[in-house]
């Protein structure tokens, strides 16, 4: 309610003020139109008296000021025309000073002053000096600010700048600078004082009101930057020291923040670079509450952009040792401002790092230095709790990655891991993901064991449980994604030199083995495949390096693999381990390492026997075993027999009849390898097929007994297809008669009363028959072979 009333009152006061101005403006216009100077002065003074109000907020006061300003422009035109009022400008300059009230008097004085300078009857500097001095009489902050802003406005085009018509005859650019600096200083003092004056009001409101006026103060700096004659030397010797002096001495956080920002924004980057020491020297002297980091970051951003703008300016940066100075200044600021939150310090380092990366991309030591400083700052507290600070650290760590597109660089930074140590577990993981993504994005290959070691040290948050993290806190999906990323990462670790590659593999192994049961299923397979890749590479080199003492031999690698997979089987993740054993066995087979391959198979069988209990898993595993074993050619008869025997045995022991049946007929392939010197034992093939047929029959009968209907004939059709395969491959034990019998059997089964119609198996059978028909009609040797089969 109170506030609403206040606003209403203010509106009313503003309206009254405007009415007062309009009223006097009417008579002023009349006086001007009739060239009556005395009346013009009288009414203009009355008009300006409206600006003496203390009741308006800066915003409303501005509105009033602008009305008066318009009238003053008009009055100035009148003053300029001596013929109309018949009074010399000098006399006019005195005449307006007769006004009894100070504010109207000074507005009029500034207005005549403008005419006076233009007339060139007196040196511009003298008039300016007089005006800026006389304005001291207004000590009320808002009124003073607007008055001085008016002075700044009317004097802007009359400064004795280089090339200006007001320069010369003792008027130099220094006079212009002095004038603007003085006006700036006084305005800032008034602005700062605003908070102490007037009725005690809410601080936020005051701050808001002050913010509304800040541009009036900042405008002076803008004017300074626009003065042509302000070269580097003047800026360095006069402008900057005096502006900074005022900024530091005013001891006001709002002003300090705004003005530092202003300095950085309005003056050229080149000047900043050359006066870096002076500029930076001011920062530690600012009030503790000043948001230095934003300002400094601004500065560094600007300098970075400047450096990026042209290669020619880079030597300047080196010459002035910009990095060292900035780094030093940041150190001092952090030291001086004990209260500064960690996030502030870190964001300063982020800016500095960005600067270093952009300006001195070749100086990794700078980057490391920044990280080091950051570590030092962070070492005070063990882990970051502050969310924002964490974000900044992530930014800090991400910056070098983005700059160099290359993880290698980050890995050479000794302080990089130390910074990461200060992140909480969650963020550490995020950062680790960022690292991995960076590697993926830029397809970076990490090529030495040493770097791999550093890298895994960096991403250890993903590699193992870090104390304090509870497993159930983790989101299952996130966890999978993380581990998949690690798995992908493993493939990015590569060196052409087998020796080094082996080292890499060992290093990775060292790290991932600590991952625990949940991680190993993700991390072991890529490592195994990476190792197998190396094995295959060595196989290719075999000829060249044979006979030499090579540390990286396939045998050695297989030993390693054995251990790795063993760890997985202990996890336990038997099915996966089994697959990997089989993969290794196959690789060992290709290397002609029979004992090794045998060992892997043994491991796989052991796992099958002891660990794979689920019947579905058993089916899958047994098919994998059969498939792998079939391709093995390194085994001697004895070993092979042992393994095939085992595999066949397992097949027959599967729980479900159909599964048994399928596994058994699959085993038939173990005895018939369609290679030049592959095994071709037709009898045992037939044995398997017959056995599977028996099982299929049994399955059919079981179905009749238990459900009263026969099962589908699919199994028979599948067996028929196996018969056809071996028949075509020329297995003498598989005859057309046997095929004929099987076809009849299927037909009978299909027509039996108990048969369950099953379109899929019907179609399958129909297709099989069509194939036979096709082969018959094709003629040739195959056609003849099929001749005796009737369908």
């Amino acid at each position: 309610m109170m506030i609403a009333d206040g606003i209403e009152d203010e509106e009313k006061w503003l309206a009254e003020g405007i009415a007062g101005i309009q009223h006097n403006a009417f008579y002023l216009h009349r006086a001007v139109d009739s060239n009556n100077l005395r009346e013009a002065l009288k009414y203009s003074a009355q008009l300006l008296s409206e600006l003496r109000t203390s009741r308006l907020s800066p915003h409303k006061y501005y509105e009033l000021y602008m009305r008066a300003f318009d009238e003053l422009r008009r009055l100035e035109m009148f003053f300029k025309d001596e013929e109309r009022h018949g009074c010399s400008v000098l006399d006019l300059y005195e005449l307006v000073q007769h006004a009894g009230n100070v504010l109207p008097r000074l507005y009029l004085l500034c207005t005549v002053g403008s005419v006076y300078i233009k007339s060139k009857e007196a040196p511009a500097k003298d008039v300016l000096k007089d005006l800026v001095e006389m304005c001291r009489s207004v000590q009320h902050p808002i009124r003073g600010l607007f008055l001085r802003s008016y002075l700044a406005q009317i004097s802007r085009d009359k400064l004795p700048d280089i090339g200006s018509e007001y320069e010369g005859d003792g008027d130099t650019v220094m006079d212009a600078v002095d004038f603007v600096l003085q006006n700036f200083t006084e305005m800032n003092k008034l602005w700062v004082r605003m908070q102490h004056q007037g009725p005690i009001r809410v601080k936020e409101k005051l701050d808001k009101e002050r913010s509304e006026l800040r541009d009036l103060v900042g405008k002076n700096l803008h004017v300074l930057s626009q003065i042509e004659g302000v070269d580097l030397e003047i800026y360095k010797d006069t402008v900057l020291p005096r502006v900074l002096e005022q900024v530091v001495n005013c001891k006001d956080e709002l002003a300090q923040h705004y003005l530092m920002d202003c300095i950085i924004q309005v003056f050229p980057d080149e000047y900043h670079l050359q006066t870096l020491e002076t500029l930076l020297g001011a920062f530690p002297q600012l009030q503790p509450a000043v948001d230095i980091k934003t300002v400094l970051s601004q500065l560094m951003d600007r300098l970075s952009n400047y450096a990026a703008s042209s290669a020619e300016v880079l030597p300047e940066f080196l010459q002035v040792e910009a990095f060292a100075k900035l780094s030093n200044a940041i150190g001092k600021v952090i030291e001086a401002q004990v209260e500064m939150p960690v996030v502030g310090a870190i964001s300063l380092y982020v800016s500095l790092l960005t600067f270093a990366l952009r300006v001195h991309s070749d100086r990794l030591d700078y980057v490391d230095q920044v990280l080091g400083a950051c570590v030092k700052k962070l070492s005070g507290s063990p882990k970051l709790e502050d969310n924002k600070a964490t974000k900044q650290v992530v930014a800090l760590l991400t910056a070098p990655l983005e700059k160099y597109n290359d993880i290698d660089t980050a890995l050479t930074l000794s302080n990089y891991p130390h910074v990461m140590d200060h992140l909480d577990a969650g963020t550490n993981k995020i950062m680790a993901m960022v690292l991995i993504q960076s590697i993926m994005k830029y397809n970076t290959c990490v090529s030495t064991a040493e770097k791999v070691d550093v890298l895994f040290e960096l991403i250890k948050g993903l590699i193992k449980d870090i104390d304090g993290t509870l497993a159930d806190e983790l989101d299952e999906e996130d966890f999978k994604e993380e581990q998949n990323s690690v798995a992908r990462l493993v493939h990015m670790l590569y060196n052409d030199d087998p020796e080094e590659m082996l080292q890499i593999i060992c290093t990775v192994r060292k790290h991932i083995m600590a991952g625990g049961p949940k991680r190993l299923p993700f991390t072991v397979p890529p490592l195994v495949f990476s190792a197998l890749k190396l094995v295959r590479r060595l196989q290719g080199l075999d000829g060249e390096v044979a006979g030499e003492e090579v540390p990286a031999t396939p045998r050695k690698i297989f030993q390693l693999l054995n251990q790795i997979i063993e760890a997985l089987s202990n996890v336990p993740s038997p099915e996966l381990a089994l697959r990997l054993y089989l993969q290794c066995a196959e690789a060992a087979n290709d290397c002609d390492l029979e004992p090794v391959a045998y060992e892997f198979f043994t491991q796989a069988f052991v796992l099958y026997e002891e660990e794979v209990a689920d019947s579905k898993a058993q089916v899958t595993s047994i098919h994998l075993i059969i498939g792998t074993l079939q391709r093995m050619n390194a085994f001697g008869v004895e070993n092979r027999d042992t393994l095939t025997h085992k595999a066949t045995g397992y097949s027959a022991k599967l729980l479900k009849k159909p599964d048994q049946c399928r596994a058994v007929y699959a085993c038939s392939h173990l005895f018939w390898v369609d290679d030049q010197d592959g095994i071709k034992d037709g009898e045992r093939v037939l044995l398997c097929l017959k056995r599977s047929l028996r099982i299929a029959n049994a399955a059919q009968q079981m179905a009749n007994v238990t459900r009263g209907t026969g099962g589908p004939v699919t199994l028979f059709v599948e067996i028929l297809n196996k018969y056809l395969y071996f028949f075509e491959k020329g297995n003498p034990q598989v005859t057309s008669a046997a095929i004929q019998d099987l076809i009849e059997l299927i037909k009978t089964e299909m027509q039996s009363d108990t048969a369950t119609p099953d379109p899929a198996s019907d179609a399958f059978f129909a297709c099989t028959l069509r194939y036979i028909e096709f082969q018959k009609q094709k003629g040739g040797a195959m056609g003849e072979k099929y001749d005796s089969v009737r369908i």
């Binding site: 003496r52 005195e94 000073q97 007769h98 009894g100 009230n101 100070v102 504010l103 008097r105 001095e133 006389m134 001291r136 009489s137 207004v138 000590q139 009320h140 902050p141 009124r143 003073g144 003092k189 004082r193 004056q197």
Partner: protein, 286 residues
């Protein structure tokens, strides 16, 4: 008859003209009835000369017992022996190098006037009298010693200021230049004015009567200064109706001038410091 006639219409017109009336400077003079008339300006030691014309109203004669002109309070000149005037008659007069050490002054309780008085003495009908005011102003050389006024004043732990006026003696068209330096400010000042005050004292001893007038109120500062601020003073005296300082004129009266520095705080309390200045009339160069 004559009484009535005399009341409505004087028997004659008396006009007084000065011999250099056309070239002599005229200055405004405020009369008792409030009207301002332009009158000639003289200074001490000047000759005051001119002509007096007496013109009877047409067809009348003026009998008289003699005609005289007086520079009031000082000198009498007989113009004519008793007789009759039938038509316009002009008498020249002259008071040579008249000693007029005091200036014309128009105060609150005291006026110092210079008047020419023409008297036509008559028997039964009463005398016919005409007055002519003129103004006397005396010019002096600038004072040889003219120090500035510099002073530190204050209220303990509340307000300490130091002010400076560039001179202690100012001529009437002078400019007061100076500054006020704030050494300590613990009160909320609203504004600061510089006043010019005139103190006119009349009578003497127990009967002394003092009248003080504020002739100028000039705002020096708007708002509250802080410690270390220095506020400029520049006050042009020409717009104000000032006279020189008069000290004990003819043992009758004195006129003194003071600069009064007034600070007003937000509760409208006034803090002031008064300082006498001497005003003098500077010889006009033109």
């Amino acid at each position: 008859m004559n009484y009535i006639l005399g009341a409505f219409k004087p028997a004659c017109h008396i006009s007084i003209t000065f011999s250099d009336g056309k070239s002599r400077k005229q200055v405004p003079l405020k009369k008792e009835n409030g009207q301002t008339v332009m009158v000639p300006l003289f200074q001490s030691q000047e000759n005051i000369s001119g002509k007096i014309s007496i013109e009877p109203v047409s067809g009348k004669k003026v009998e008289h017992n003699g005609i005289k002109v007086e520079l009031l309070g000082q000198i009498v000149r007989e113009l004519d022996v008793p007789g009759e005037i039938y038509e316009r008659k002009t008498y020249p007069f002259e008071f040579s190098t008249v000693e007029m050490p005091y200036e014309t002054y128009n105060g609150v309780n005291v006026r110092l006037r210079y008047i020419l008085k023409v008297t036509i003495s008559r028997g039964y009908a009463g005398s016919i009298v005409e007055y002519q005011d003129f103004v006397v102003r005396n010019y002096g050389p600038p004072p040889s010693i003219n120090n500035s006024i510099k002073m530190e004043v204050g209220i303990e732990d509340c307000l300490h200021i130091e002010f400076e006026y560039n001179k202690s003696k100012y001529h009437l068209k002078d400019v007061i230049i100076g500054k006020i330096y704030f050494l300590l400010v613990r009160i909320k000042i609203k504004n600061m004015d510089l006043e010019i005050r005139r103190r006119e004292s009349t009578g003497s001893g127990a009967n002394t009567h003092v009248e003080t007038e504020t002739l100028a109120k000039f705002e020096l500062m708007d708002g509250a200064p802080v410690r270390g601020e220095s506020i400029p003073i520049r006050l042009f005296l020409s717009p104000y109706e000032l006279t020189p300082t008069y000290r004990n004129i003819n043992n009758k009266f004195s006129v003194k001038y003071y600069l009064n520095l007034v600070l007003v705080d937000e509760e409208d309390r006034r803090y002031f410091k008064q300082q006498e200045i001497t005003m003098f009339r500077l010889g006009e160069t033109s």
